[in-house]
């Protein structure tokens, strides 16, 4: 399936049909909620205090509901009015605004304690109109975001980069706007669970939060590397020895070439009678 960004601009792609999916499809909802929870974790807000947060590309307000559950107040910003209508139907507590992130955020300096964004940033890399210039739009967005956040705030974006160039474009524009930070990749070895989070910090450089990895995965890696090490220690088997022949036959089998099966005679010395 091709990427949604390639199909239509966001205000058209997220129409009534697409918006409906976000209220009915429980798998989609689950994924959105999980990503939102992780994004809030990465925000590293001081505990047990209600904060005033910004949800960029809030859509139907699924991520906003997660913010509400944790006791925060939020303002949502989205370009698709169909998605915002769904948010109204869901009776979310946050206030909603219709707007284009690439045109800059219309907020006063220092208004928010933090910002989250789920699967929205990659849309800004598109040029849907002749007047759109992705680099300029990203810069305008990041610089206006920088000014409307308070001094110690963070902004966390979950996004789907198409390639490494896109990722670099986003991070450079964010750094140019004054942010510190970088990309955290959760489950980097899994194709499905792999998630990219751009973590931006306002108040000086701080170490990036740790990415999540599967426990099993770690074990598997250490196991295979141990096996490789042992193999290296043993070295290649002696030429024309039984091990060497078995390995060679194994290799031919893997390549799908006709190979005689292994028997008790394989690699055995001929008796003197022959």
């Amino acid at each position: 399936m091709s990427r949604p960004e390639h199909q239509a601009p966001p205000e058209l792609f997220y129409n009534e049909n697409e918006a409906k999916k976000y209220t009915q499809n429980s798998r989609m909802i689950d994924i959105q909620v999980q990503m939102s929870e992780r994004a809030i974790e990465l925000l590293a807000l001081p505990d047990d205090e209600p904060h005033f947060l910004l949800d960029l590309g809030c859509g139907s307000g699924l991520s906003g509901s997660v913010l509400e559950d944790q006791g925060h107040r939020w303002v949502g910003f989205d370009i698709s009015s169909a998605m915002l209508d769904v948010a109204l139907e869901r009776e979310v507590e946050g206030d909603l605004l219709l707007g284009d992130l690439g045109q800059g955020l219309p907020f006063r300096a220092g208004a928010f304690d933090g910002a989250v964004s789920i699967s929205a940033l990659q849309w800004l890399c598109n040029a849907d109109k002749t007047s759109h210039h992705p680099t300029k739009r990203l810069y305008k967005f990041f610089s206006s975001l920088y000014s409307c956040l308070s001094r110690t705030a963070r902004a966390v974006f979950q996004f789907y980069p198409e390639n490494s160039d896109q990722m670099e474009l986003m991070t450079t524009q964010a750094m140019k706007a004054g942010f510190f930070g970088g990309v955290v990749v959760d489950y980097p070895n899994s194709t499905k669970a792999k998630k990219f989070f751009l973590v931006l910090m306002c108040g000086g450089a701080a170490p990036l939060p740790k990415a999540m990895v599967e426990a099993e995965e770690e074990e598997r890696i250490s196991y295979s590397s141990k096996r490789d090490q042992l193999k290296k220690m043993r070295g290649k088997p002696l030429k024309r020895s039984k091990e060497w022949i078995l390995e060679k036959k194994e290799r031919r089998r893997r390549q799908g070439k006709p190979t005689k099966s292994d028997t008790k005679y394989t690699g055995r010395k001929r008796s003197g009678r022959f």
Binding site: L88, L97, G99, D100, A111, F112
Partner: protein, 124 residues
Amino acid sequence: MKLLTHNMLTSKCLKGVNVGYPLGIVAKDIKVLETEFNSEFVLRIIPKLDWDTLWNAADSIGHSGDLPRTLCDDYENDVEFLKKAHHVLLEVEVINGELVCPESGRKFAINKGIPNMLLNEDEL
């Protein structure tokens, strides 16, 4: 749109507008929805607010009630005051109407409580 959001909104994204604050409100439809009172949040948000703007906005849509025009010094301990602030900030909602840029006069429509902040290409 709640008045808390209005307090944070500007029209500075418009070309040729420097401050774009505060936006005027032309309200056609106003709804009052009760929400849970959280004194901690109100306490945290008050230092961030522009109080004059809040009072004027509340007054212009006829919901200032007996909200004090200026902030008194020890509002932290005044629960009655915090409740009034909570009411104006989070319970009064403009459902239909317009926001007006103070510099250019550009109008932003509010439909179903959602202000439309989309700009045309020539306004950037």
